[in-house]
Symmetry: C2
Subunit: 243 residues, 2 copies
Protein backbone atom coordinates (compact mmCIF):
# COMPACT_ATOMS: atom_id res chain seq x y z
CA UNK A 1 0.00 0.00 0.00
CA UNK A 2 2.55 2.52 1.15
CA UNK A 3 5.87 2.44 -0.67
CA UNK A 4 7.44 5.60 0.63
CA UNK A 5 11.19 5.61 0.35
CA UNK A 6 13.04 7.58 2.96
CA UNK A 7 15.85 9.66 1.49
CA UNK A 8 19.31 9.54 3.08
CA UNK A 9 20.51 12.84 4.53
CA UNK A 10 22.93 13.54 1.72
CA UNK A 11 20.14 13.44 -0.86
CA UNK A 12 17.81 15.70 1.09
CA UNK A 13 17.19 19.26 0.02
CA UNK A 14 17.63 22.03 2.55
CA UNK A 15 14.51 24.12 3.26
CA UNK A 16 16.40 27.23 2.23
CA UNK A 17 17.11 25.73 -1.19
CA UNK A 18 13.68 24.24 -1.66
CA UNK A 19 12.24 25.37 -4.97
CA UNK A 20 8.72 25.25 -3.57
CA UNK A 21 9.49 27.84 -0.94
CA UNK A 22 7.66 30.57 -2.79
CA UNK A 23 4.38 28.68 -2.38
CA UNK A 24 4.94 26.97 0.95
CA UNK A 25 3.60 27.80 4.39
CA UNK A 26 7.10 28.88 5.48
CA UNK A 27 7.40 31.39 2.66
CA UNK A 28 7.79 34.36 5.05
CA UNK A 29 10.58 32.80 7.13
CA UNK A 30 14.06 34.30 7.22
CA UNK A 31 17.29 32.29 7.02
CA UNK A 32 17.55 31.70 10.73
CA UNK A 33 13.98 30.53 10.92
CA UNK A 34 14.48 28.25 7.96
CA UNK A 35 17.37 26.57 9.73
CA UNK A 36 15.20 25.96 12.74
CA UNK A 37 12.49 24.67 10.46
CA UNK A 38 14.87 22.30 8.79
CA UNK A 39 16.08 20.91 12.10
CA UNK A 40 12.53 20.00 12.95
CA UNK A 41 11.82 18.35 9.68
CA UNK A 42 11.14 14.74 10.41
CA UNK A 43 12.04 13.24 7.04
CA UNK A 44 12.04 13.56 3.30
CA UNK A 45 10.37 10.86 1.26
CA UNK A 46 9.70 9.93 -2.30
CA UNK A 47 6.44 8.38 -3.45
CA UNK A 48 5.67 6.55 -6.66
CA UNK A 49 2.49 7.23 -8.60
CA UNK A 50 -0.29 5.32 -6.86
CA UNK A 51 1.30 5.34 -3.40
CA UNK A 52 -0.72 6.58 -0.48
CA UNK A 53 0.67 9.39 1.63
CA UNK A 54 -2.00 8.55 4.20
CA UNK A 55 -5.41 6.91 4.22
CA UNK A 56 -8.72 8.03 5.68
CA UNK A 57 -8.78 6.81 9.28
CA UNK A 58 -4.99 6.81 9.62
CA UNK A 59 -3.33 8.90 12.28
CA UNK A 60 -0.33 10.08 10.30
CA UNK A 61 0.76 12.26 13.23
CA UNK A 62 2.57 14.47 10.76
CA UNK A 63 1.89 17.13 8.17
CA UNK A 64 3.53 17.26 4.78
CA UNK A 65 4.86 19.77 2.32
CA UNK A 66 4.68 18.55 -1.24
CA UNK A 67 7.91 19.47 -3.00
CA UNK A 68 7.39 17.88 -6.37
CA UNK A 69 4.60 15.97 -8.09
CA UNK A 70 0.79 15.71 -7.98
CA UNK A 71 -1.21 14.41 -5.02
CA UNK A 72 -4.98 13.90 -4.85
CA UNK A 73 -6.96 14.12 -1.60
CA UNK A 74 -10.24 12.24 -1.54
CA UNK A 75 -12.96 10.60 0.54
CA UNK A 76 -14.47 7.21 -0.26
CA UNK A 77 -18.13 6.24 0.00
CA UNK A 78 -19.65 2.88 0.73
CA UNK A 79 -21.24 2.76 -2.74
CA UNK A 80 -17.74 2.42 -4.15
CA UNK A 81 -17.50 5.97 -5.41
CA UNK A 82 -15.09 8.59 -4.18
CA UNK A 83 -14.98 12.37 -4.14
CA UNK A 84 -11.68 14.02 -4.92
CA UNK A 85 -11.49 17.00 -2.58
CA UNK A 86 -8.40 18.67 -3.96
CA UNK A 87 -5.39 18.25 -6.17
CA UNK A 88 -2.15 19.33 -4.51
CA UNK A 89 0.98 20.73 -6.19
CA UNK A 90 4.45 21.73 -5.14
CA UNK A 91 4.42 23.88 -2.03
CA UNK A 92 1.01 22.68 -0.87
CA UNK A 93 0.62 21.77 2.78
CA UNK A 94 -1.13 18.46 3.38
CA UNK A 95 -2.54 16.60 6.34
CA UNK A 96 -2.35 19.30 8.99
CA UNK A 97 -4.85 18.86 11.81
CA UNK A 98 -5.32 21.05 14.86
CA UNK A 99 -4.96 17.87 16.93
CA UNK A 100 -2.34 15.79 15.17
CA UNK A 101 -3.21 12.73 17.24
CA UNK A 102 -6.67 12.50 15.68
CA UNK A 103 -7.43 10.16 12.76
CA UNK A 104 -7.67 12.03 9.49
CA UNK A 105 -10.90 12.27 7.53
CA UNK A 106 -9.58 11.85 3.99
CA UNK A 107 -6.92 10.03 2.00
CA UNK A 108 -3.97 11.43 0.06
CA UNK A 109 -2.44 9.56 -2.86
CA UNK A 110 0.33 10.41 -5.29
CA UNK A 111 -0.83 10.46 -8.91
CA UNK A 112 2.69 11.07 -10.16
CA UNK A 113 6.07 10.41 -8.59
CA UNK A 114 6.49 12.82 -5.71
CA UNK A 115 8.99 14.21 -3.27
CA UNK A 116 7.66 15.12 0.14
CA UNK A 117 8.83 16.70 3.40
CA UNK A 118 7.23 15.75 6.68
CA UNK A 119 6.98 17.43 10.07
CA UNK A 120 5.58 15.50 12.99
CA UNK A 121 3.11 16.92 15.49
CA UNK A 122 5.56 17.94 18.23
CA UNK A 123 7.84 19.61 15.68
CA UNK A 124 4.96 21.64 14.33
CA UNK A 125 3.96 22.65 17.85
CA UNK A 126 7.50 23.74 18.56
CA UNK A 127 7.75 25.74 15.36
CA UNK A 128 4.43 27.47 15.91
CA UNK A 129 5.49 28.51 19.39
CA UNK A 130 8.89 29.71 18.33
CA UNK A 131 7.74 31.52 15.18
CA UNK A 132 4.34 33.12 15.75
CA UNK A 133 4.29 34.33 12.16
CA UNK A 134 3.83 30.70 11.14
CA UNK A 135 0.49 30.71 12.94
CA UNK A 136 -0.68 33.49 10.69
CA UNK A 137 0.54 31.52 7.67
CA UNK A 138 -1.28 28.48 8.91
CA UNK A 139 -4.53 30.40 9.36
CA UNK A 140 -4.14 31.76 5.84
CA UNK A 141 -3.56 28.31 4.40
CA UNK A 142 -6.61 26.96 6.20
CA UNK A 143 -8.56 29.91 4.87
CA UNK A 144 -7.48 29.26 1.29
CA UNK A 145 -8.29 25.57 1.57
CA UNK A 146 -11.70 26.39 3.06
CA UNK A 147 -12.50 28.79 0.22
CA UNK A 148 -11.43 26.18 -2.32
CA UNK A 149 -13.61 23.54 -0.69
CA UNK A 150 -16.65 25.84 -0.57
CA UNK A 151 -16.15 26.77 -4.19
CA UNK A 152 -15.83 23.13 -5.22
CA UNK A 153 -18.91 22.18 -3.22
CA UNK A 154 -20.85 24.94 -4.91
CA UNK A 155 -20.09 24.06 -8.49
CA UNK A 156 -20.20 20.31 -7.92
CA UNK A 157 -23.63 20.70 -6.36
CA UNK A 158 -25.14 23.20 -8.76
CA UNK A 159 -23.44 23.39 -12.15
CA UNK A 160 -23.92 21.21 -15.27
CA UNK A 161 -21.12 18.83 -16.21
CA UNK A 162 -19.58 20.92 -18.99
CA UNK A 163 -19.14 23.93 -16.75
CA UNK A 164 -17.83 21.83 -13.90
CA UNK A 165 -15.17 20.42 -16.15
CA UNK A 166 -14.19 23.81 -17.53
CA UNK A 167 -13.98 25.28 -14.05
CA UNK A 168 -11.95 22.41 -12.70
CA UNK A 169 -9.45 22.46 -15.56
CA UNK A 170 -9.09 26.24 -15.42
CA UNK A 171 -8.36 25.97 -11.73
CA UNK A 172 -5.66 23.34 -12.26
CA UNK A 173 -4.12 25.32 -15.10
CA UNK A 174 -3.96 28.45 -12.95
CA UNK A 175 -2.03 26.58 -10.28
CA UNK A 176 0.36 25.14 -12.84
CA UNK A 177 0.94 28.57 -14.31
CA UNK A 178 1.77 29.97 -10.85
CA UNK A 179 4.45 27.32 -10.73
CA UNK A 180 6.00 28.39 -13.99
CA UNK A 181 4.43 25.92 -16.41
CA UNK A 182 3.78 27.30 -19.89
CA UNK A 183 0.11 26.52 -20.26
CA UNK A 184 0.07 27.36 -23.98
CA UNK A 185 1.99 24.16 -24.64
CA UNK A 186 0.96 20.55 -24.24
CA UNK A 187 1.30 19.85 -20.52
CA UNK A 188 1.83 16.67 -18.50
CA UNK A 189 -1.45 15.85 -16.78
CA UNK A 190 -1.36 12.68 -14.69
CA UNK A 191 -5.10 12.65 -13.89
CA UNK A 192 -7.19 10.06 -15.74
CA UNK A 193 -10.72 10.78 -16.94
CA UNK A 194 -11.86 8.80 -13.94
CA UNK A 195 -9.93 11.06 -11.56
CA UNK A 196 -11.40 14.18 -13.08
CA UNK A 197 -14.86 12.62 -13.01
CA UNK A 198 -14.47 11.87 -9.31
CA UNK A 199 -13.38 15.43 -8.69
CA UNK A 200 -16.40 17.03 -10.34
CA UNK A 201 -19.02 14.51 -9.31
CA UNK A 202 -19.84 12.67 -12.54
CA UNK A 203 -19.03 9.20 -13.91
CA UNK A 204 -16.01 8.51 -16.07
CA UNK A 205 -18.20 7.60 -19.03
CA UNK A 206 -19.97 10.90 -18.88
CA UNK A 207 -16.67 12.67 -18.30
CA UNK A 208 -15.45 11.13 -21.53
CA UNK A 209 -18.45 12.41 -23.45
CA UNK A 210 -18.08 15.92 -22.08
CA UNK A 211 -14.34 15.86 -22.75
CA UNK A 212 -15.04 14.90 -26.33
CA UNK A 213 -17.52 17.72 -26.62
CA UNK A 214 -14.92 20.26 -25.50
CA UNK A 215 -12.31 18.71 -27.78
CA UNK A 216 -14.60 18.79 -30.85
CA UNK A 217 -15.43 22.39 -30.01
CA UNK A 218 -11.70 23.09 -30.29
CA UNK A 219 -11.41 24.29 -26.71
CA UNK A 220 -9.28 21.80 -24.82
CA UNK A 221 -7.89 18.30 -25.33
CA UNK A 222 -7.33 16.31 -22.17
CA UNK A 223 -6.43 12.60 -22.23
CA UNK A 224 -3.58 10.09 -22.00
CA UNK A 225 -1.67 12.04 -19.38
CA UNK A 226 -1.63 15.29 -21.30
CA UNK A 227 -3.67 18.43 -21.58
CA UNK A 228 -3.60 21.05 -24.30
CA UNK A 229 -5.71 24.15 -24.38
CA UNK A 230 -6.59 25.24 -27.89
CA UNK A 231 -9.01 28.07 -27.15
CA UNK A 232 -8.21 29.87 -23.94
CA UNK A 233 -10.83 32.59 -24.11
CA UNK A 234 -13.56 29.99 -24.66
CA UNK A 235 -12.38 27.83 -21.77
CA UNK A 236 -12.13 30.81 -19.47
CA UNK A 237 -15.56 32.04 -20.54
CA UNK A 238 -17.11 28.67 -19.82
CA UNK A 239 -15.45 28.51 -16.41
CA UNK A 240 -16.43 32.04 -15.49
CA UNK A 241 -20.02 31.44 -16.52
CA UNK A 242 -20.40 29.25 -13.44
CA UNK A 243 -20.31 32.05 -10.85
Amino acid sequence: MKHTAKLPKELQLSCADCSTRRHAWFKHCNTKELNDLQEHRTAQHTLKAGDYLFMEGDTPGAAFTLQEGWVICFKSLSNGRRQILSVAFSGDYLGYQSDMSQPIDYSAMAVSDCRICSFNGPSIMHLLQKQPSLIQSLLEIQQQQAIACRTRLTYVGQAPAKQKLAYFLTNILAKLEQRGVDIRETIDFPLTHEDVADAIGITSVHMCRVAIELRRAGIVDCRHNHIRVTDFPALKALAQSVF
Copy 2:
Protein backbone atom coordinates in the same frame (compact mmCIF):
# COMPACT_ATOMS: atom_id res chain seq x y z
CA MET B 1 -31.67 44.20 2.74
CA LYS B 2 -30.08 44.36 6.17
CA HIS B 3 -32.43 45.04 9.03
CA THR B 4 -30.12 44.36 11.94
CA ALA B 5 -31.28 46.04 15.10
CA LYS B 6 -28.54 47.02 17.51
CA LEU B 7 -29.40 46.17 21.09
CA PRO B 8 -28.95 48.84 23.79
CA LYS B 9 -26.39 47.99 26.45
CA GLU B 10 -28.98 47.17 29.09
CA LEU B 11 -30.53 44.45 26.92
CA GLN B 12 -27.22 42.82 26.04
CA LEU B 13 -26.20 39.53 27.55
CA SER B 14 -22.79 39.22 29.19
CA CYS B 15 -20.44 36.65 27.66
CA ALA B 16 -20.22 34.89 31.01
CA ASP B 17 -24.00 34.41 31.06
CA CYS B 18 -24.31 33.47 27.43
CA SER B 19 -26.16 30.20 27.11
CA THR B 20 -24.23 29.32 23.98
CA ARG B 21 -20.94 29.37 25.81
CA ARG B 22 -20.72 25.61 25.92
CA HIS B 23 -20.53 25.50 22.12
CA ALA B 24 -18.72 28.73 21.39
CA TRP B 25 -15.10 29.38 20.45
CA PHE B 26 -14.49 30.97 23.87
CA LYS B 27 -15.67 27.88 25.71
CA HIS B 28 -12.31 27.35 27.43
CA CYS B 29 -11.98 30.90 28.76
CA ASN B 30 -11.98 31.65 32.47
CA THR B 31 -13.93 34.49 34.10
CA LYS B 32 -11.18 37.06 33.70
CA GLU B 33 -10.74 36.18 30.05
CA LEU B 34 -14.46 36.38 29.48
CA ASN B 35 -14.50 39.90 30.85
CA ASP B 36 -11.77 40.89 28.46
CA LEU B 37 -13.68 39.20 25.69
CA GLN B 38 -16.81 41.07 26.54
CA GLU B 39 -15.02 44.40 26.53
CA HIS B 40 -13.92 43.74 22.99
CA ARG B 41 -17.31 42.74 21.78
CA THR B 42 -18.33 45.25 19.19
CA ALA B 43 -22.09 44.88 19.42
CA GLN B 44 -25.06 42.63 19.88
CA HIS B 45 -27.71 42.54 17.20
CA THR B 46 -31.00 40.92 16.41
CA LEU B 47 -31.94 39.74 12.93
CA LYS B 48 -35.36 38.89 11.55
CA ALA B 49 -35.88 35.79 9.43
CA GLY B 50 -34.69 36.64 5.93
CA ASP B 51 -32.19 39.31 6.99
CA TYR B 52 -28.64 39.06 5.74
CA LEU B 53 -25.81 38.98 8.25
CA PHE B 54 -23.45 39.64 5.37
CA MET B 55 -23.41 39.07 1.63
CA GLU B 56 -20.86 37.47 -0.64
CA GLY B 57 -18.44 40.21 -1.66
CA ASP B 58 -19.05 42.27 1.48
CA THR B 59 -16.19 43.12 3.79
CA PRO B 60 -17.98 42.71 7.10
CA GLY B 61 -14.70 43.35 8.95
CA ALA B 62 -16.12 41.39 11.87
CA ALA B 63 -16.82 37.84 12.95
CA PHE B 64 -19.98 36.73 14.66
CA THR B 65 -21.12 34.34 17.33
CA LEU B 66 -24.65 33.16 16.80
CA GLN B 67 -26.44 33.18 20.13
CA GLU B 68 -29.92 32.18 19.10
CA GLY B 69 -31.64 31.16 15.88
CA TRP B 70 -30.76 29.52 12.56
CA VAL B 71 -28.46 31.02 9.94
CA ILE B 72 -27.65 29.61 6.50
CA CYS B 73 -24.36 30.24 4.71
CA PHE B 74 -24.44 29.94 0.93
CA LYS B 75 -22.87 30.84 -2.39
CA SER B 76 -24.85 31.96 -5.43
CA LEU B 77 -24.24 30.97 -9.04
CA SER B 78 -24.92 32.90 -12.19
CA ASN B 79 -27.50 30.33 -13.30
CA GLY B 80 -29.70 31.51 -10.44
CA ARG B 81 -29.05 28.52 -8.21
CA ARG B 82 -27.30 28.59 -4.88
CA GLN B 83 -25.42 26.10 -2.75
CA ILE B 84 -26.06 26.18 0.97
CA LEU B 85 -22.68 25.52 2.56
CA SER B 86 -23.74 25.15 6.16
CA VAL B 87 -26.53 25.73 8.63
CA ALA B 88 -25.39 27.50 11.79
CA PHE B 89 -26.83 27.18 15.28
CA SER B 90 -26.29 28.78 18.66
CA GLY B 91 -22.61 28.98 19.53
CA ASP B 92 -21.43 28.74 15.94
CA TYR B 93 -18.73 31.15 14.83
CA LEU B 94 -19.43 32.86 11.53
CA GLY B 95 -17.55 35.02 9.09
CA TYR B 96 -14.05 34.72 10.50
CA GLN B 97 -11.30 35.33 7.95
CA SER B 98 -7.57 35.27 8.50
CA ASP B 99 -7.48 38.71 6.90
CA MET B 100 -10.61 40.48 8.11
CA SER B 101 -10.17 43.25 5.58
CA GLN B 102 -10.77 40.87 2.67
CA PRO B 103 -14.19 40.49 1.01
CA ILE B 104 -15.94 37.32 2.08
CA ASP B 105 -16.68 34.50 -0.34
CA TYR B 106 -20.18 33.51 0.83
CA SER B 107 -23.39 35.00 2.23
CA ALA B 108 -25.02 34.45 5.60
CA MET B 109 -28.75 34.89 6.11
CA ALA B 110 -31.02 34.35 9.09
CA VAL B 111 -33.75 31.79 8.42
CA SER B 112 -35.34 32.43 11.81
CA ASP B 113 -35.18 35.41 14.15
CA CYS B 114 -31.66 35.52 15.58
CA ARG B 115 -29.53 37.15 18.23
CA ILE B 116 -25.91 37.70 17.32
CA CYS B 117 -22.67 38.97 18.89
CA SER B 118 -20.01 40.61 16.78
CA PHE B 119 -16.29 41.18 17.21
CA ASN B 120 -14.46 43.38 14.77
CA GLY B 121 -11.09 42.57 13.26
CA PRO B 122 -8.86 44.55 15.63
CA SER B 123 -10.71 43.16 18.67
CA ILE B 124 -10.14 39.63 17.45
CA MET B 125 -6.47 40.37 16.87
CA HIS B 126 -6.18 41.76 20.36
CA LEU B 127 -7.91 38.77 21.93
CA LEU B 128 -5.81 36.26 20.03
CA GLN B 129 -2.64 37.97 21.18
CA LYS B 130 -3.75 38.24 24.77
CA GLN B 131 -5.19 34.74 25.04
CA PRO B 132 -3.13 32.28 23.04
CA SER B 133 -5.54 29.48 23.94
CA LEU B 134 -8.07 31.19 21.68
CA ILE B 135 -5.76 30.51 18.75
CA GLN B 136 -6.00 26.82 19.45
CA SER B 137 -9.80 27.12 19.65
CA LEU B 138 -9.82 28.97 16.38
CA LEU B 139 -7.73 26.32 14.66
CA GLU B 140 -10.09 23.67 16.00
CA ILE B 141 -13.14 25.52 14.75
CA GLN B 142 -11.57 25.91 11.33
CA GLN B 143 -10.75 22.21 11.40
CA GLN B 144 -14.33 21.25 12.24
CA GLN B 145 -15.71 23.51 9.55
CA ALA B 146 -13.26 22.08 7.03
CA ILE B 147 -14.27 18.52 7.88
CA ALA B 148 -17.93 19.44 7.58
CA CYS B 149 -17.35 21.05 4.19
CA ARG B 150 -15.39 18.05 2.89
CA THR B 151 -18.09 15.71 4.10
CA ARG B 152 -20.81 17.79 2.47
CA LEU B 153 -18.87 18.00 -0.78
CA THR B 154 -18.45 14.24 -0.78
CA TYR B 155 -22.06 13.28 -0.33
CA VAL B 156 -23.41 16.08 -2.49
CA GLY B 157 -21.08 14.97 -5.27
CA GLN B 158 -21.50 11.23 -4.99
CA ALA B 159 -24.65 10.09 -3.17
CA PRO B 160 -28.21 9.65 -4.52
CA ALA B 161 -30.86 12.12 -3.40
CA LYS B 162 -32.51 9.96 -0.75
CA GLN B 163 -29.26 9.34 1.07
CA LYS B 164 -28.22 12.97 0.79
CA LEU B 165 -31.45 14.02 2.44
CA ALA B 166 -31.17 11.45 5.21
CA TYR B 167 -27.58 12.44 5.90
CA PHE B 168 -28.35 16.13 5.93
CA LEU B 169 -31.31 15.77 8.28
CA THR B 170 -29.42 13.46 10.61
CA ASN B 171 -26.64 16.01 10.78
CA ILE B 172 -29.03 18.83 11.65
CA LEU B 173 -30.79 16.70 14.25
CA ALA B 174 -27.48 15.82 15.91
CA LYS B 175 -26.63 19.49 16.28
CA LEU B 176 -30.05 20.26 17.72
CA GLU B 177 -29.73 17.42 20.17
CA GLN B 178 -26.35 18.76 21.33
CA ARG B 179 -28.20 21.94 22.15
CA GLY B 180 -30.77 20.22 24.28
CA VAL B 181 -33.64 19.81 21.81
CA ASP B 182 -35.71 16.68 22.30
CA ILE B 183 -35.53 15.19 18.84
CA ARG B 184 -38.22 12.58 19.57
CA GLU B 185 -40.82 15.35 19.50
CA THR B 186 -42.01 17.51 16.64
CA ILE B 187 -39.33 20.17 16.23
CA ASP B 188 -39.35 23.67 14.79
CA PHE B 189 -37.53 23.54 11.46
CA PRO B 190 -37.36 26.89 9.65
CA LEU B 191 -35.82 25.50 6.45
CA THR B 192 -38.14 25.21 3.47
CA HIS B 193 -37.97 22.32 0.99
CA GLU B 194 -36.14 24.72 -1.28
CA ASP B 195 -33.50 25.45 1.37
CA VAL B 196 -32.87 21.78 1.96
CA ALA B 197 -32.75 21.16 -1.79
CA ASP B 198 -30.13 23.89 -2.18
CA ALA B 199 -28.11 22.33 0.62
CA ILE B 200 -27.97 18.87 -0.92
CA GLY B 201 -27.73 19.86 -4.56
CA ILE B 202 -31.16 18.95 -5.97
CA THR B 203 -34.22 20.96 -7.04
CA SER B 204 -37.10 21.74 -4.70
CA VAL B 205 -39.50 19.65 -6.79
CA HIS B 206 -37.29 16.63 -6.51
CA MET B 207 -36.74 17.36 -2.83
CA CYS B 208 -40.48 17.24 -2.38
CA ARG B 209 -40.73 13.84 -4.03
CA VAL B 210 -37.91 12.40 -1.93
CA ALA B 211 -39.41 13.93 1.21
CA ILE B 212 -42.72 12.29 0.38
CA GLU B 213 -40.97 8.99 -0.13
CA LEU B 214 -39.40 9.17 3.33
CA ARG B 215 -42.69 10.26 4.85
CA ARG B 216 -44.66 7.42 3.24
CA ALA B 217 -41.99 5.01 4.43
CA GLY B 218 -42.77 6.24 7.94
CA ILE B 219 -39.25 7.52 8.53
CA VAL B 220 -39.42 11.28 8.81
CA ASP B 221 -41.90 14.07 8.11
CA CYS B 222 -40.38 17.40 7.24
CA ARG B 223 -42.48 20.32 6.00
CA HIS B 224 -44.23 23.53 7.00
CA ASN B 225 -41.53 24.61 9.42
CA HIS B 226 -41.53 21.38 11.39
CA ILE B 227 -39.72 18.09 11.40
CA ARG B 228 -40.71 14.88 13.12
CA VAL B 229 -38.74 11.69 13.04
CA THR B 230 -40.94 8.61 13.19
CA ASP B 231 -38.34 5.90 12.64
CA PHE B 232 -34.96 6.82 14.01
CA PRO B 233 -33.12 3.58 13.31
CA ALA B 234 -34.23 3.69 9.68
CA LEU B 235 -33.15 7.31 9.25
CA LYS B 236 -29.82 6.66 10.88
CA ALA B 237 -29.28 3.54 8.78
CA LEU B 238 -29.99 5.47 5.59
CA ALA B 239 -27.61 8.25 6.61
CA GLN B 240 -24.86 5.87 7.65
CA SER B 241 -25.16 3.94 4.40
CA VAL B 242 -23.57 6.91 2.65
CA PHE B 243 -20.05 6.45 3.99
